[in-house]
Amino acid sequence: MIYFAGTVAVKDSIFAGARCYIAARYQGRLLEQDQPVGLMTPPVAAIAPDEESVAPDKARWRSVRRPLTTLIAILVGWELLGRYVLTNHLFFAPLSEVAVAGVELWRSGELQIHIWVSFSELLEGVAAAIVFGIAVGIGIGISQRAREYSEIYITALYATPLVAVTPLLILWLGIGIVSKAAVVFLTAVFPILINTASGVRATDTQLIEVAQSFCATRAQIIAKVMLPAAVPFMLTGIRLGIGRGIVGVVVGELFGARAGLGYLIFTSGQTFDVPALFVGILTLAAMGVGLTFAAQLVERRALRWRRAVDMD
């Protein structure tokens, strides 16, 4: 058994080591190799190698292979379920028929319109929620007074399922894209706002004190210390907001729309067109996964200054 230990304690290394390597700082060059110490103590116990510790290449392949296996099992199970168990096409459709319906909807150009409408609603609503949520979140984060006036009501609104006001928004703003963007805004804004406010408030007081000792103005402390410190919180809020926004899109379109994936699902349900209904659901799922993935990419890029372990 070979033991290899790094230490800064000179006494420890002499006490425990058979040989010492002395390394230079920073680049870790070896200054002195192989200083025999000669106080060798017998190894205390053999350490069993960790079963799960494998080469990084293998681990990466495994992280792809395992979820892929699950996916294939689900797809095959779906096809078999549709062909041999739930054979009534009023209630269920095998995967192959869903795929055919998807291709047909795409060929006719209908699917692209639904995707575009839903995506626009989501994008506009989330964009407005980001601008408003971050601005107000900062205000509430830095101002005790603003917090006292508003905090309890923001919490109440956050807890209220705001999709409930959708019929009202459709009455006010019409059946088009704007009313659904408004629903998305309402559902997405609170996680962004609340996360931004807590991020600003959670700024390390010592980092603020450093700025104060350099004679920073209040505006400088906000812009150069509190805002950067709150960025990870904001990004988390945005990711949550997107997830809630997708729910807002679908619910909004169920209440009243002329196009969109929620509209496709609703009309397909009414006409017992189960394959088209599944096309709508799967497209929504893909949209959600894609946007969450994109948000994670942005987070990773924006937060490169953080430790790698914090990211995963």
Binding site: L207, E209, V210, F214, C215, V225, P228, V231, R307
Partner: protein, 257 residues
């Protein structure tokens, strides 16, 4: 940064009280100090002797209950760019790389970008971090982070450097290296230094004079001039003169505890 840039420090009849859990607590009692321009002044004492509070008062982060502190002949009423503060835990901005951390104070002052970059680079070179400009704090070791912390304080060319146990969190080997580095850097920068520590050998190695504080409330017990010639190498710690200072200060602290 010529030595004439350094400022003097005076502390006059200074008292400091805190109210904690409804009880008034005196942390500093009747402190009087005169520190000459360019002097390396070390305050040593056990925890609870108010040494960090005194440093915060000098920086302008806290106001004394009574008495006053003067830097360069002017009363301290708030933070000023004539003073650089080196915090105990490095307190670097994790989203800024080395260059942008070092240049932080200059950026706040609105210094011209090119000049700021040149000054930041000069400080990075001075503290021995050339080649690490683009590294983020989490990519640096504890010793390197304290070098950045020191460079950040020096970049605004302060007339006085206030250091609050800057090496306390470092391991023994790194601490010894950093002590030597600080001696070199302080000599090069020529500023007045007020340095706080609870380590007796660190105080003697670094200081022109060492002030011994006693705790609860913090009182100035005695000021010892350290007559060891400079430049001081780590080997000076083995000398008889050094050991005599150690036992003298240990005796002073022991009596107060």
């Amino acid at each position: 940064m010529a030595p004439e840039h350094a400022a003097s420090v005076e502390v006059e009849h200074l008292d400091m009280e805190f109210v904690a859990r409804g009880r008034r607590q005196k942390v500093l009692a009747d402190i009087d100090l005169q520190i000459a321009p360019g002097e390396f002044f070390v305050i040593v004492g056990p925890s609870g002797c108010g040494k960090t509070t005194l440093l915060r008062i000098l920086q302008g982060l806290a106001r004394p209950t009574a008495g006053r502190a003067l830097v360069g002949g002017r009363e301290v009423l708030g933070p000023g760019t004539d003073r650089g503060f080196v915090f105990q835990n490095d307190a670097l901005y994790p989203w800024r790389n080395v260059t942008r951390n070092v240049g932080f104070g200059l950026e706040l002052q609105g210094t011209d970008k090119r000049e700021a970059a040149a000054r930041a680079q000069a400080m990075i070179d001075l503290v021995g971090l050339r080649g690490f400009e683009t590294y983020y704090p989490h990519e640096l070791s504890g010793g390197m982070r304290q070098r950045v912390n020191l460079a950040r304080a020096l970049a605004i060319e302060p007339a006085i450097l206030l250091m609050d146990e800057p090496f306390a969190a470092l391991d023994a080997l790194t601490r010894e290296t950093m002590q030597q580095e600080l001696l070199r850097i302080a000599a090069a920068a020529g500023t007045t230094v007020v340095f706080i520590t609870h380590q007796i050998d660190e105080a003697i190695l670094l200081g022109d004079r060492v002030a011994v504080f006693s705790p609860r409330p913090g009182r100035l017990k005695e000021i010892l001039p350290i007559e060891l010639k400079r430049p001081r190498e780590a080997g000076v710690k083995q000398s008889a003169a050094f050991q005599a200072y150690v036992s003298r200060i240990a005796h002073l602290i022991g009596h107060s505890a």
